[in-house]
Symmetry: C2
Subunit: 312 residues, 2 copies
């Protein structure tokens, strides 16, 4: 227990080794990690969590680097969580991106980490949310959550962010696919990256047209479309301004609190699920006996589950 308390304290003090160790424990769902996260909860809630998502090849990682440099110039500390769904198709690309980002790694005001989980994709959302709590409690001003936006799983992950930037790039058929995958609805800011390329204006007008078709609700945030060239940093300071404006809007409208509430509810539900599953698992005599009965079809799964729950 002393070791647990001390890990919490070291994370809160911003100890890089402690943060890295805790995130590894989060990925592995190590015993005791929930206790540490519950302690850290009291120190969290201050960071601005920004999700950056888009198709492979949209230059997300270079953009994240450029954003980080801009935040650092303003004296703000940054934590970066790159979510890697362990896909055989994207794994390599993400590794390459990490190498490009290594230049930032020498700055003590920046913490960079790729996270991956084995098994269920729900585990990924959960690990991302827990890693955010960790960096938030560690005092990072800005937390950037970078995901490859190709499927529902990534859309779920990004819901942990306060501000979501969807990155498109001129001249890729992928744009439309990214939007099909449900990313249009979750964008708080659209970024057209690599805007020095031919076709940038076309991409901007396509996005504008799509936003025009979306239902407008009075009092809602107006989603801006920002052009950037992340390789040169062009447009990046303006993009940071939009993120700040969005955070101010969230706070003014009470939406920041509502999103925090929703994330808290999700986390409590996950923990309750885990508490149940920990007691109902193979090897526990009560559970094993029940599974025997149901496998022999002398009992049915639902009655068995209800009875086991009552016995908890």
């Amino acid at each position: 227990m002393t070791g647990t308390v001390s890990l919490t304290d070291r994370v809160v003090r911003g100890d890089v080794g402690a943060i890295a160790r805790l995130i590894t424990q989060i990925e592995r769902r190590s015993p005791g990690v929930d206790e540490v996260l519950s302690e850290l909860h009291h120190s969290a809630g201050r960071a601005h969590v920004i999700g950056v998502t888009g198709s492979p090849g949209s230059g997300k990682s270079t953009l994240v680097s450029a954003l980080t440099e801009q935040y650092r110039r303003a004296g703000r500390t940054v934590g970066i969580i790159a979510v890697d769904p362990s896909s055989v198709f994207t794994g390599g690309a993400i590794l390459g991106d990490r190498i490009r980002m290594a230049a930032l790694a020498g700055d003590p005001g920046v913490f960079i980490r790729s996270i991956a989980t084995r098994g269920a994709l729900g585990g990924l959302s959960r690990a991302a949310l827990d890693a955010i709590t960790t960096l938030d409690a560690a005092g990072k001003d800005i937390i950037i959550l970078e995901t490859v936006g190709v499927g529902q799983a990534e859309v779920d992950v990004i819901s942990a962010a306060q501000t979501v930037a969807v990155v498109s790039v001129p001249g890729m058929g992928d744009d439309v696919q990214a939007i099909k995958a449900g990313l249009l609805e979750i964008a708080d800011v659209h970024v057209v990256n690599k805007s020095d390329r031919e076709g940038a204006h076309k991409t901007v007008s396509e996005l504008r047209e799509m936003l025009r078709l979306a239902p407008r609700v009075p009092g809602q945030w107006t989603v801006p479309i920002k052009q950037t060239v992340s390789a040169t940093g062009q447009g990046v300071p303006e993009l940071v301004d939009r993120f700040d404006e969005h955070l101010a809007w969230l706070a003014d409208t009470g939406e920041r609190e509502r999103r925090a509430w929703r994330n808290t509810a999700t986390r409590i539900r996950w923990l309750a699920e885990e508490l149940v599953l920990d007691r109902l698992k193979p090897g526990r005599p009560d559970f094993d006996r029940t599974v025997d009965e149901v496998t022999a079809r002398r009992d049915d799964p639902l009655s068995a589950a209800r009875r086991l729950m009552e016995q908890l």
Copy 2:
């Protein structure tokens, strides 16, 4: 309740409309569906569940059609569940496959259904397992579970099968990727489809080499490699023989019972999870009050989850 009982009865009698309706309810997690499945549990457990997986383009669907024709010639009834993870990349291909399979749809001894779920991929495994129970209780002799084998989610889904066939195809770099994605370990039978193509022998020897590198355990099933040309039906009768041999091996070694036990355990855990999550959700006054406290950081998520569980 009368309506529920009658749906169960109609499914057990093999009523196609009732089966289709129940699978739709499974996809949507409609209220009452767990009761029906628990009733059906008593009539299930007889079918041979065969998983067929492989990269897009390996001709899985044509193979499934050819297998179905072979089983029908032997007088066996077949249920086909095609699992579609709603991917933007594979959605179209699967639709096309369905159309090719439409020719089988006129046979009352064949039931074909694509299933998809919104949201978490865990929902897909669950829907697949429930759809299998449905077709099993409805008296299908053979249930073919067809998945696109590209990620962990599909590997999870296929664990519901008793016999897993991994389909490769000559001259595609994809083979190696399919194996990277963890499919080698789960194959009970390897199929090299489109074996009239150039490179079939090379694919067979690559697979043989990979199997040779895998650790051999005495008494374990020896994974065969079968060549097929599903468009002409070549090799399909022999493939069906291998599937039958594998089922006999499962029964002889007690492995069939062990897999049934494991699936039952999973189902009971899912149901228990759902019972908990149904009581701990936004809108329930106790839950909402607790989330308020934790959001205000007067309480932490883990203590809150533990207290809520005690109050259940």
